[in-house]
Amino acid sequence: MAGMVSITLQNNDEARPVIESILHDNPNANANYMPGAVKIDCPERLVVKAESVSERIGRDWDPQEIHLTIVSMGGSLDEDDEELVLSWGA
């Protein structure tokens, strides 16, 4: 069984373009909405692409801005200037 990775973000205006990008860029991702937050699960690997978020907000988005809206995560994380990746086995 592939290990699930997950990221939980606040469900607010600042996080919405990030949530949208994740769901667009990870076709197998599944969003679970709860009051105030969204938990997005994905088998094996989940990527947050700076380019996708930037397109949606009309300015350069720095992956470190994730610190403003992240609530929790599951998986091993790797971050650089372009993307933030959650996976197992890394």
Binding site: M1, G3, M4, V5, S6, T8, Q10, M34, P35, G36, A37, K39, Q64, E65, H67, L68, T69, I70, V71, S72, M73, G74, G75, S76, L77, D78, E79, D80, D81, W88, G89
Partner: protein, 507 residues
Amino acid sequence: MTPPRKKKMNLKQRYALMTRGLDWETSYQKMDDVFPYDTFEGIKITDWSKWEDPFRLTMDAYWKYQGEKERKLYAVLDSFAQNNGQLGISDARYVNAIKLFLTGVTPLEYQAHRHFSHLGRHIRGVGPRVAAQMQSLDELRHAQTQIHTISHYNKYFDGFAEFPHMHDRVWYLSVPKSFFDDACSAGPFEFFTAISFAFEYVLTNLLFVPFMSGAAYNGDLATVTFGFSAQSDEARHMTLGIEVIKFMLEQHPDNLPIVQKWVDKWFWRGHKVLGLVAMMMDYMLPKRIMSWKEAWEIYFTEAGGALFEDLSRYGLRVPKYADIATDEAEHISHQNWAIFYQYTQAAGFHTWIPGDDELDWLSEKYPNTFDKYYRPRFEMWREMEAKGERFYNNALPQLCQTCQIPMGYTEPGDPTKIGFRSSVYKDERYHFCSDGCKDIFDDEPEKFSQAWLPVHQIFQGNCGGADLSDVLKWYHMDQGIDNMDYNGSPDQKQWDAWQAARKKVAG
């Protein structure tokens, strides 16, 4: 002529420069003398430079993002206070969960601040040292923002005013306090395993995600905001937790048995402490989002399952007694609420019997256990209350020497039989609620035989006197105001008056 624009460094280069680049090897003092605490536990580290912070957060970026988080949070808190946010919560019973949070959890944030500050000085590797420094500041921020948020409730509700005093004295608060005292009196690698891995990575989601979502659902704008603001730091702490485990396991094969023992110990201890949160979620939120059992399935069984499957490549296995903890998720909230109902006279928050709709919800969420074992008990107590014979337990309970919880938990597989275990150490017998707690004691009897057990201390005359009223005074609890049932409390009278005024305005 203007010089060519300098190329910006990328994240990895900045991180290398702003952490590794700030470190140095000592010359006129031995490194072992400068960092005296990071070897005695037997953890072997051959190359500290292999440590990697996955977020690659440097101090300058840290200040930038934390500053922004603080501005947002305080705008909400200020607005909540200015606009009488306390009027908008679902029900005043909800506030009792926040009382337990402030007295039980907030002081732990402060303890974490202190100990991460210690690690931020005493860990030899610069990567984890910088991460510990940031976490130390985070934890101080959490303590401050929680106190600040809750100070607003303190203006209107009882039970908050003496929270630091209570944390050091009250019987049920010794459960979270002793958990942290145990971690802070351990070595640095055990502390990392206890707090960063077992608590922050494996278990803390159970507290901060569904409970804070519950705060949002119950109209508590202030608590959900500090909760999620703290949790954004928590995601970083989780990466520290998982990195420290991988780092220890990658550095030397001899580290595995030590790490496994700590993972077993701290999973079990954390699971017991979180029983308080189980009760907050199942009984104290007037509007509920998920049961403790459901939260356990999502955050331990599923998320923990994926985590331990990943860590199995290092030889690490699922914590010992994880199956028993999962079995207990069917029982722990009901058994804890029953304990507090029986001892409401000595609790710093109010208790109640759930209403019919709430009992129905519990029956639905716990189809295997609630109707069979717990609903009849609550219904009987409700009948006794109606007849003017409200049940109080006036005998002080025996406590587990390790987790310090009253021995009210049942045997695995038999919810009708209370579990008891014991060990003899230096001619004295010590008592435990479970095999997990007994194993922990048996491994470190010198440490746990010194535990400050509230019931023993009362019997020894160290808690203000022999009567309940003496002990309550020593706790700084006001009789008839801070303790006893919600029905008939000053909190209830005030809330009902607010609701009546609201109806009047509505006409």
